[in-house]
Symmetry: C2
Subunit: 205 residues, 2 copies
């Protein structure tokens, strides 16, 4: 999500306006999209929340859809970035899968509102459909990783790789429903818990 940050760096000093940068505008928009729904939120409502004029907001974002696109890219870019890291590309498939699961939890926690928004997308516009397509491509790569790990014998072969991917990511994604960064559990501890259950299960042996 480099676009708005670069924009901020290039923006001239503002005069007589509260100093909101594009990232703060985006965060406020996402907060409203989550609270009231994307369709029910207007650009005017986002501007009002920040004490900005609509034209000041339009200086940074062309439209409500632009805000949505950048917000979804924040979530998807984070998840896709995990797959590009060395730990996800080198080594045994089982270890790479573990690396990716831990990374996905980290992205969820670090970009909680953006991933929350992504998980509510239903495909009602071109921007939403493009986001769903990227989610499917991400899931597809994870399914491939599960399949490879089954092939090498590190992941159980009695569950279909696509069902296993959906169930484990269902668990990971459910974190957005209840996790709050201010709570007792940190991101690393949460990732440990997810990996314990996803990889080794609840049952003692």
């Amino acid at each position: 999500m480099t676009e708005p940050v670069a924009h901020a760096e290039l923006a001239p000093a503002r005069r007589g306006r509260p100093g909101y940068d594009p990232q703060q505008i985006l965060a406020a928009a996402v907060e409203l999209f989550i609270a009231h729904g994307y369709d029910a939120t207007s650009v005017a409502a986002v501007a009002e929340r920040l004490g900005l004029t609509k034209s000041a907001l339009y200086h940074h974002y062309d439209s409500k859809e632009h805000l949505l696109r950048v917000a979804l890219d924040e979530a998807l870019g984070g998840l896709e970035g995990v797959l590009d890291e060395r730990g996800a590309r080198k080594g045994a498939a089982g270890a790479r899968l573990e690396y990716v699961l831990r990374g996905a939890v980290r992205v969820l926690v670090e970009r909680l509102p953006y991933v929350t928004l992504l998980l509510r997308v239903r495909g009602n516009s071109d921007v939403e459909r493009a986001a769903l397509e990227r989610r499917r491509a991400f899931d597809h790569r994870i399914t491939g990783l599960v399949r490879d790990a089954q092939g090498e014998g590190t992941v159980r072969a009695d569950v279909d790789p696509s069902v296993a991917t959906r169930l484990v990511f269902g668990m990971v994604n459910s974190i957005v429903e209840w996790y709050r960064p201010t709570g007792p559990e940190g991101a690393a501890e949460l990732a440990d818990d997810v990996l314990r259950i996803a990889l080794d299960g609840l049952r003692t042996r």
Copy 2:
């Protein structure tokens, strides 16, 4: 969910109207609530979908909120019913937990639209808040079961019981996002997959 069924049995024979019973009206309402959101769906839209007059619909349901209440009760009653079954009440805690997980998957599959609606409830009205309260009470009973199973040594003790419950039910609940009864996987097979991963994890040993 006995109320509308009993209602249907007691209703006098209708004359000159399509023969919709309360359960069919409820199903149509839930379909629209899921597709367009509860707030955006009117009683008139539900009646129109069925080719009923609003007054014919009001013969069975007092209000849109009544439809929501009965729909959420369909989901919650199913889940709570699992906890009242013998397999959830007798025996070792680990076996009871396994029984409840399997039962929850069965309820999700059998009452898919109702549980989907339940999982979208955010607490915007008294009916929604009452449903959330029942969900919390259900989760609380599962957490107690996980804690008991940890105490007897059948469930790993290195994950907080409330976090373990949330993660495993996150996996179970995520089924509503992708499972379709017409697909290749039956409910029993899906429950097997959930139990394999939740209890024993993805990793081979």
